[in-house]
Amino acid sequence: MKKLINKPDDVVREELEGIQIAHPDMVKVFFDPNYIVRADAPVEGKVGIVSGGGSGHEPLHGGFVGMGMLDAACPGAVFTSPTPDQMLEATKAVDGGAGVLHIVKNYTGDVLNFEMAADLAADEDIEVEAVVTNDDVAVQDSLYTAGRRGVGVTVLLEKIAGAAAEQKRPLKDVAEIARRVNAQGRSMGMALTSCTVPTAGKPTFDLPEDEMEIGIGIHGEPGRSRMKVKSAAEITEMLATPILEDLPFEESDEVLAFVNGMGGTPLIELYIIYNELSKILDKRGIKIVRNLIGPYITSLEMAGCSITLLKMDEELLHLWDAPVNVPALRWGI
């Protein structure tokens, strides 16, 4: 295992220290329990938005804390859901009197821990709504599984719900918008390499030099199928088709196209994927009205990418374009 770290057990704490020192203008970092809140929290009269999950997906979620996006993020151990005490403290810290929205990626651990946190918050008379993201079309039989995983849509949802909250809309509205984003978004990912959890010290799975995994999640887990490496055009087709057919996305739909890097894939390749994606959407008469290209929801140093498409409407466009000022996204300000 080669990583720029000190002790594997200290990775998350030291990363948080780095964030704290790097962005005091945007965020405050708390330890034991660990959580990150925006520097000016709580914002009076604004719905507080809290997300969280295992570490190793940076910049998700800590890099999205700040004006126009999250009020707080709770980082767990690498690839392990955080705990309810973190979430409770974060929830209390960002409660501006208008209630708190929990954004939860659909993994059993995340869901259960956030549920407990919501119970605890209710005990303290904080109104909490939870929205669970489950956009990963690689998980098929949701009847016989814990359901689809929450992946790329989470990033878009955090931005859009964040903008809605910033407008001081009530909790019910913000949650409704968040659920709409989740309902209108679909994702799928692939990997050229595995990744190594620092405390494990060895790659989560082995992938021969000429093979790739299609339909991976974001925890270094193997995907839906393994096959010989294909061209960027073929890979994009393999990711986009299940996404397009699932919602389904249809001719003259307007979408936000998000090409995400898994952590070890450079930008030059993401633009090549984006180029292929735009050709596929063109052919179907689907119009890309916004895009996001880069590593935003990662799996440590895994090489690979994911594609997320979100069907846009006037309101979502407006909220997407609204100002945001967080360590990993910044515009309109």
């Binding site: 690839f79 309810p84 993994y107 059993t108 651990g109 259960l112």
Partner: protein, 214 residues
């Protein structure tokens, strides 16, 4: 045939928690390997992190009642384990605490009510059904064995021993199952043929109980 009237004392409960913590530490790699096959390979690490924390907390509550002790165990697990097993084991102990509040000793019937309360909590929290290939699949048979033993007027030692055996059987019975809950469910059919890590750690709970509680 042991002494029918022998009860579970507070000190034994503490010994049990310590014994279970030791069993988890001992089986950390084994549990993690089981989780690697059908999950994300952290169940042993998660549980061990939690019970190491529990061990540091125990001394400060060792002179309180059993409910207070189990509550601290549950709360500590909730705030240190994370993942799926943190809230589930945490809830298990917190719900056990509800039935043991103020008590310094438990009869077999108390113990059954305590375990039942814990299991109910796990089911309410995780919404798994028996046969979904989860920790429930060893806890539920263990509970049923306790009830049967009590119905047959067995001693505490006999009942605990029967529950450990049943948990063991339940754990082994998870091998052919296809997971329907938790991370293993993403594997679908590929999850069959592997023993569930959570059911395995739960078996250790009843195994150590049979060893130290009577």
């Amino acid at each position: 045939m042991g002494d029918k009237n022998m009860n579970i004392t507070r000190d034994k409960i503490i010994t049990w928690i310590e014994a279970f913590s030791a069993a988890i530490a001992e089986n950390k790699v084994y549990l993690t390997d089981l989780d690697s096959a059908i999950g994300d390979g952290d169940h042993g690490v998660n549980m061990d992190r939690g019970f190491q924390a529990v061990l540091t907390k125990l001394p400060s509550v060792s002179n309180q009642d059993i409910g207070a002790i189990l509550k601290v165990v549950g709360m500590t697990l909730v705030s240190t384990v994370g993942g799926a097993s943190g809230p589930l084991y945490g809830t298990f102990f917190i719900q056990m605490a509800r039935k043991t509040n103020g008590k310094l000793e438990l009869t077999l019937d108390d113990w059954i009510a305590t375990i039942e309360s814990g299991l109910d909590g796990v089911i309410r929290r995780g919404k798994a059904n028996p046969g979904d290939k989860t920790m429930i699949d060893s806890i539920l048979p263990a509970l049923e064995a306790l009830k049967t033993a009590a119905g047959n007027d067995k001693s505490l030692a006999e009942a605990l021993s029967a529950s450990a055996q049943a948990a063991h059987q339940g754990m082994e019975d998870t091998i052919p199952l296809v997971a329907k809950r938790g991370r293993a469910s993403y594997l679908g059919e590929r999850s069959a043929g592997h023993q569930d890590p959570g059911a395995t750690s739960s078996y250790l709970l009843f195994k150590t109980a049979a060893e130290v509680l009577p």
